[in-house]
């Protein structure tokens, strides 16, 4: 119930292509859905986030699509660049009186030059 399932585990995309990472959840108490980007040896960096009352949010080349009825959300990286090669984590905020983040297992993205 508190899991966030992320896929694929790894992804290889050509430069200029679109990278798509998907996440699914079960608990309707999740209230906020951020995506984090993590480079080797670094902590996760907040990339973009969405609330469940919005179906899409775009920031530059990064877009979150959110399907509340299907309990799914995805990250789209347009015009993928080699510098985007990193591990991406989706997360969901469990808001039931207190605040607790549940993270997906991560997607290792490699963008080929």
């Amino acid at each position: 119930q508190q899991q966030v399932k992320q896929s694929p585990q790894s992804l290889i995309v050509q430069k200029g292509g679109i990278s798509i990472i998907n996440c699914a959840y079960e608990n309707t108490a999740f209230d906020y859905f951020p995506w984090y980007q993590q480079f080797p040896g670094k902590g996760p960096a907040l990339l973009i986030a969405i609330r469940p009352d919005v179906s899409e949010k775009k920031e530059g080349r990064f877009t979150i699509s959110f399907n509340k009825s299907a309990k799914q959300f995805s990250l789209h990286i347009m015009d993928s660049q080699p510098g985007d090669s990193a591990t991406y984590f989706c997360a969901a905020l469990l808001k039931t009186g207190t605040y607790k983040y549940i993270f997906g297992t991560g997607t290792r993205l490699k963008v080929l030059a």
């Binding site: 992320q6 209230d31 906020y32 951020p34 984090y36 040896g41 670094k42 902590g43 996760p44 960096a45 907040l46 986030a49 984590f89 997360a91 905020l93 207190t98 605040y99 607790k100 983040y101 549940i102 993270f103 997906g104 297992t105 991560g106």
Partner: protein, 113 residues
């Protein structure tokens, strides 16, 4: 404006020993959360501190304890170290309790031999 800082960067300990990790939150942030990230996995929530009190806790044994100081900095203590405690320990801070955006530090890599 300094982001979240953590010390030390790396640490090697022996089974059964005790370890203390330190975190300074982003300037102006008063809420600190700790996460454990095993290799190839997403961060797992350990606990969260606000107003010098532990506000909530993840599924971690009592060997994991923490503290928050009046200047909002925090410590994570792990007693009776096990090999399985080897991981990247991440600290994240939020502007104030209840605000959802959190920012991660670079982490402390703990190796237990």
């Amino acid at each position: 404006d300094a982001g979240v800082t953590q010390s030390p960067t790396h640490l090697i300990k022996t089974r059964g020993q005790q370890v203390t990790l330190r975190c300074s939150p982003k300037s102006g942030h008063d809420t600190v959360s700790w996460y454990q990230q095993a290799l190839g996995q997403g961060p797992q929530f350990i606990f969260q501190y606000y107003e010098e009190e532990e506000r909530q806790r993840g599924n971690f044994p009592d060997r994991f304890s923490g503290h928050q100081f009046p200047n909002y900095s925090s410590e994570l203590n792990v007693n009776a170290l096990l090999l399985g405690d080897s991981a990247l320990y991440l600290c994240a801070s939020s502007l104030r309790w209840g605000l959802v955006e959190q920012y991660f530090g670079p982490g402390t890599r703990l190796t237990v031999t």
